[in-house]
Symmetry: C2
Subunit: 223 residues, 2 copies
Amino acid sequence: MSPRRSASEALDTRRRIIGRAVDIASTQGLEGLTIGHLAEQLEMSKAGVVGHFGNKEQLQLATLQTAVDTFVREVWEPASTTPRGLPRLLAICDAWISYLAGDVFPGGCFLTSASCEFDGRPGPVRDAVADALERWRAALRSELVVAKRAGELLPGADPAQIAFTLGAIAMGANQAFQLHHDLGAAAHARAAMRTALGVDRPVVTRRSASARKRAKPARQAAG
Amino acid sequence: MSPRRSASEALDTRRRIIGRAVDIASTQGLEGLTIGHLAEQLEMSKAGVVGHFGNKEQLQLATLQTAVDTFVREVWEPASTTPRGLPRLLAICDAWISYLAGDVFPGGCFLTSASCEFDGRPGPVRDAVADALERWRAALRSELVVAKRAGELLPGADPAQIAFTLGAIAMGANQAFQLHHDLGAAAHARAAMRTALGVDRPVVTRRSASARKRAKPARQAAG
DNA sequence: CCTACCGATCGGTAGG
DNA sequence: CCTACCGATCGGTAGG
């Protein structure tokens, strides 16, 4: 219909393409994201789609970057108004679990999927995935250092160790939600994250009913 | 050359096909495993390959089953001679980390990759992945129950919670090894697993030098 | 277990 | 942003 569009119209189209690309890649993978399928869903020609990116790899990179932006918006930004250190870490963990349990991406955590898909395939996409995850890990570690300096963590707490553990728990929760549809994983993940932060002990032999309630919400699955 | 083979020769060929299929799928994914590529690497015709399985989905299922067998052989069996309960759990964790750090599969833990790839695609392959992971989780939980009954875990330890956490740590370690090539993740994973089992506290303020050495081997990455 | 072949789809380009 | 097209590869089958 309109062979030429203004720059802002072209940007809108580009965003519309990427939005759909994120949904497709979320379940089919960044490799399973095909230009033909994408064009069909958008009721565009393949050439119209690919013209915005040049080739598939650039489309993959743009799609990944948008998913990373979404992650930051869903997990990092909601916690950014909470005071730094342990309070912010607890807010991050809660937002993270909500993000994983929710339907932000139809196929679960985009970064985890992309990491599994590209961890054995050298190239720009793999590098971008590794870079995004390393930035996130560094942000967590930085916040852990703040908490440690404020004396909010247990005395010998190791920020790198705790950041590793928090990331692992998120991956475990993602698998539980996506593969097993196990909503009880939210409680497991929350308990494991709080243990890692030293907020709860792995097992507390003597604690108040309110503390127990905080650590194990009612919707937790039966053991 | 030989259009007809004996049953045992056919079985050998089938095993040879699956062996190569595991390697390819390990890095390219079970969907990226194509009959044409497989046939080329085996110096066979596509029809010769597909004849052993019927279609691609059956090939994927056979490949997955073989990878599961390998996991059991690498992680479960080495620990099966260790006394039940906590000692066996510790042996499992060590074998698990070795499996993840090693080169059993060129693309890292096959089950983790398959889980990420198929968690949003209903069908027999997804069901088989979920089933294998649930069996493994059940085996861990069963062993945790034995350990708890023997008083080897902390008093209020929750086997389901601990099994969740151990599985999560394994996924985190797999990502660290495969995506980041971070060998220090072995020490992080080991420490996190022992904390989950209550063997080490998340942080121990007062402990012997030998205990510190056990918890943090020299090859651990700097924090 | 092979050759020869099928329709469908892949990423991408030429030209407008 | 379109139509029309390219060679390559996909899963799979017929027939031997």
